[in-house]
């Protein structure tokens, strides 16, 4: 516990030091506020435009969470199909790598053109960026079951379905969480990328990506900083939420989750 407090204090001290340095830099160099606003100005912008900042944050969270949730469901289904045979994997796996390597910024305009601007298309961009890590990790978890465990099940005349539900699926849960952890971080990136192209997804209001474009065009750099900060916090929040769920579901039996509590 004491160690934990010391770590926390260290982190806070470093953060405060960085803010001071930033403020000092502003005092010494006298940069125009549209180039680098001092931290106090950013703080003021957060307070002054708090409601619209929260609206943007809510819109982007919704889209990112929607894309992430959809990618978990669809990714698991695809992984279940992939786990059926090596032949299917060999035929279709290259396409998941394609999904991962194709730059999302290049695909986003296409999706917007096909689906039309709005929350749905932004969610779809987040979904696409999240899908590959879910498929890859879940498939790995489903097929990497120790042969003797399969033998054990066979010795009890277990059906294919029993082997799937009682052995392969629970065995894949830790790998699934690895995938979700990766996807959670990038879902926010996907949603913001989508918004950069989609514009306002509701009349008069937009997500973080839209607001970033708007603030940058208006040279409201202090608010731009506030938006970037909000986007970062959102990514962190997603990541830690998944970490918590992972710990909650796995701490009883799995090493990866256990190490978080043993520290």
């Amino acid at each position: 516990m004491k160690k934990y407090v010391v770590t926390l204090l260290n982190a806070v001290a470093v953060f405060a030091g960085l803010l001071l340095l930033w403020q000092a830099l502003d005092l010494i160099l006298h940069l125009p506020p549209y180039m680098l606003p001092p931290p106090l100005a950013v703080g003021k912008a957060v307070v002054a435009r708090f409601p619209s900042l929260m609206t943007s944050l809510a819109i982007t969270s919704e889209e990112a969470a929607g894309g992430l949730a959809a990618s978990i469901v669809v990714g698991m289904l695809i992984a279940l199909i992939f786990a059926q045979s090596r032949w299917i994997r060999r035929m279709l796996y290259p396409y998941t790598i394609l999904l991962q390597t194709v730059p999302i910024v290049a695909v986003a305009p296409l999706i917007l053109m096909w689906v039309g601007p709005g929350t749905l298309s932004v969610t779809l961009v987040a979904f696409i960026i999240c899908l590959a890590p879910i498929i890859a990790n879940t498939t790995q978890g489903l097929i990497s079951v120790e042969p003797n465990l399969i033998h054990l099940f066979l010795m009890h005349n277990a059906s294919r379905l029993q082997i799937l539900t009682r052995l392969r699926l629970p065995h894949a849960v830790p790998s699934l969480f690895v995938g979700i952890r990766i996807a959670a971080g990038i879902s926010v990136i996907g949603a913001i990328t989508g918004e950069l192209f989609a514009g306002s997804s509701r009349v008069g209001e937009g997500g973080l990506g839209y607001s970033i474009l708007y603030a940058s065009a208006q040279l409201q750099t202090d608010y731009l900083f506030a938006l970037v900060l909000a986007a970062t916090v959102l990514g962190f929040a997603f990541f830690f939420l998944v970490m918590f769920l992972e710990w909650y579901f796995l701490h009883n039996w799995h090493e990866s989750a256990r190490s978080m509590t043993d520290e």
Binding site: L152, M155, H156, N157, P170, R258
Partner: protein
């Protein structure tokens, strides 16, 4: 007891096992194991000990020859067989209770009956105090005990064990050996036991079979007529030592060949 001993439980007739175009792992094995016997298979690596267990369990098929368990093909006889692997092969996401009940669950035994059977087995194996623990909280010896309990839960008539205590320290192994014999006295199952330890084979078995490698074949059969119940003192008897010497000598002969 001697009358019962003559009822065959497992028969292998001219069994040969070949993988691909490699030389046979096992060649022309003839072996009959009677009800109530405890047979240990011992031999250098590559002599096909584990393959023989896989054949009797039906996890792999013989290239030629016939195998009968309780008069049935191995796959059809599976309900009567339990397999204990070298690792405890426990499901880490299940508690000890739920691991022990796995076989019964897969065989669609009702929840109430399962609870009863698991409870009595945990008592028999001395695991009641860790019933709600997860495998990762247990020592290697405890895990193996759970594995044994799981195997016995389905009331097998034939127990196949592939070096189950090979990874344990000697003291734990000796204690588990004694417990295994105690369980055998309470329930009645036939056992085929693969091991690398001559002392373990002598202590547990009614018969030790020494296998020779490339191709795997039976080199020698040594009946172990030490009286039951066997205890720690059995290991100190001159008869025990002379049997260990005899089998060690047979093993050296197999290695030299």
């Amino acid at each position: 007891m001697s009358a019962e001993l003559r009822v065959p439980q497992v028969t292998l007739t001219g069994v040969t096992k070949t993988y691909g175009s490699n030389p046979p792992v096992l060649q022309q094995i003839d072996l009959t194991i009677a009800k109530g016997e405890f047979v240990s298979l011992i031999g250098p690596s590559g002599c096909g000990k584990s393959t023989l267990l896989k054949l009797v369990s039906g996890l792999t098929n013989a290239t030629s020859g016939a195998i009968l368990v309780d008069g049935m093909t191995p796959v059809n006889a599976r309900e009567t067989i339990s397999y204990i692997f070298q690792d405890a092969t426990l499901l880490p996401w299940r508690t000890v209770t739920s691991n022990v009940g796995l076989g019964l669950e897969l065989e669609h035994v009702s929840r109430e009956t399962r609870k009863e059977k698991v409870q009595s087995l945990l008592e028999l194996v001395g695991l009641t105090h860790v019933a709600r623990s997860y495998p990762r909280q247990l020592s290697g010896g405890m895990k193996m005990r759970v594995s044994v309990a799981r195997a016995l839960a389905t009331r097998p008539r034939l127990l196949l064990m592939d070096e189950p205590f090979g990874a344990l320290d000697e003291m734990t192994r000796d204690r588990l050996n004694e417990e295994l014999l105690r369980l055998r006295a309470e329930q009645d199952w036939t056992a085929i036991f693969v091991t690398h330890s001559v002392a373990e084979a002598v202590f547990l078995s009614t018969r030790v079979i020494v296998l020779a490698p490339s191709p795997g074949r039976i080199a020698q059969e040594i009946p172990i007529d030490l009286p039951f119940p066997r205890t720690g003192e059995t290991r100190e008897s001159p008869q025990f030592e002379s049997l260990v010497t005899e089998i060690s000598r047979a093993l050296r002969g197999v290695h030299a060949a």
